[in-house]
Amino acid sequence: MADDLQALLHAVAADDCRPDHERIVRRGRQLQRWRAGVLSVTAMVVALAVVGVGQALPGSPPGPSVADAPSVGPTSDGDGSSEDGFQQGVLPGMTPEEAEARSAWEEAVRTQLPPPPPGALDAESETYVQDPVAACRWRDEVAEQAAALPGWDDLGLEKEEMGVSEALRLVVTEHTGDRSPPVGLLLTYCMLREAVIVEPVGSPDAAGEADEAAWPQLAAEDGYYEVMVFHLPTSLDDLMTFDGVGDGSEGALLELVDRPELLCLWLEDLVEIVAAAAPDLRSTGAGSLEAEIADAVLVSAWEPMPDQQRSTTWHAEELLLECRS
């Protein structure tokens, strides 16, 4: 059987793929530039977190506001060159036409795109995102409209999220005067929020494959649901540069871990999303239903991490209790 399989798979695989060296090297150099920027910003954030995490726990004296912190890396910046990484205005190397297109696009963003809905964001709050539904809906509107404005196609953006991030920042600055809003945090939050997929996986009898599915399962009246948290932004892959192997969720979650109140908001938000998507969920008795959902969400989000790190990092029940204290 093994020999058959070997022959079979060799026979059906594409056998004439050749590397595009130029493309690979270009992309590799881009990643190097991003990393250089990301690491410098991450160092700042870590420094802030060291000072602020303990104080930022619910009920503790307020630490430095997240609004004071630069947004982390390429979530907002694409090239990782800090909150201002997109760099407004004319940049060195731009042709006059590109510079003109850029200015026109920025002006249109400032004047035509909708401001954040009242109560959706709060620069004074540790979480920044106050109303997840409204904030993320606004993010979607801005993303859609910014891409439709004249000049978008001429911006030469290599990553769409760079443009979206910049559009969000321009609009917030326009309406609040805050020149460094942590829109990267908003983007990360929305992406992680959207990352939750809940789908039925059949009868309890079919759950024998559970250990092979990457996703945690939750018991329901007539079967099981898988909970998947993913769709981590591509740009965050580059935040996770420390060992070069992984899919980036560590970076996204570390952003949240560094902001406990935001982590709590996200967790409770996701528990509600999962519960609404699968109303017949029931607790298996291992804990409260909410804690089981939270655990599934966290395990799935942390899926690329080895089990031992996962288990020592996350304790859903305690985390929920702490969030609600």
Binding site: L9, V12, V25
Partner: protein, 173 residues
């Protein structure tokens, strides 16, 4: 770093075809496979100073490639779900120039769980030893051995099901 660039180019030329071919099995789509392979090699380029000193730079790229492919699979699955939610899901029509048998095997692979597919591709296409597969998949060697057996059985069952389906279709057609 011209010397390192030359070395990387040679590494890429030697390893890329094999990894892209393995990914074509994993993804079921050659274009996607090449995209993922290119990204994995770009990451190798980014860290080449470190990776070139590793015992198995090829192993590192294979692991990154599988991780990237898994990530992409998860995103694709989410997108499909999202499209279904908004009733925009239209079945993709693709033209595969390969023979029906080749298409059938690729399709059967796509029906397997990611873990099954990964272990089959790593073991039987990349011919990796169990110890290396275990390292890539973060599993014990025992687990990889049993997973391999189950995956092979699952692929065989899937191919038989597909054959039965084709047979029934032709009888009814």
């Amino acid at each position: 770093m011209p010397e390192a660039d030359g070395e990387f180019t040679a590494f890429c030329a030697a390893e890329y075809p094999r990894i892209a071919a393995a990914l074509s099995l994993w993804c079921g789509d050659r274009a996607v496979a090449e995209e993922v392979a290119s990204e994995a090699f770009a990451r190798a380029y980014r860290d080449w100073k470190r990776i070139r000193r590793m015992e198995s730079p090829g192993g590192w790229v294979r692991r990154v490639a599988i991780n990237l492919a898994t990530s992409r699979f998860r995103r694709r699955r989410a997108r499909r779900r999202a499209e279904q939610r908004v009733a925009r899901d239209t079945p993709a029509t693709t033209h595969d120039p390969d023979s029906a048998a080749v298409v059938a095997v690729r399709a059967a692979l796509q029906e397997l769980s990611p873990a099954h597919r990964t272990v089959l591709v790593l073991r039987y296409h990349l011919d990796m030893p169990i110890s290396e597969v275990a390292a890539v998949m973060d599993r014990s060697e025992t687990s990889v051995t049993s997973l391999t057996q189950r995956a092979a059985a699952a692929l065989r069952a899937q191919l038989e099901r597909d054959e039965d389906r084709v047979g029934e279709g032709s009888r009814h057609g």
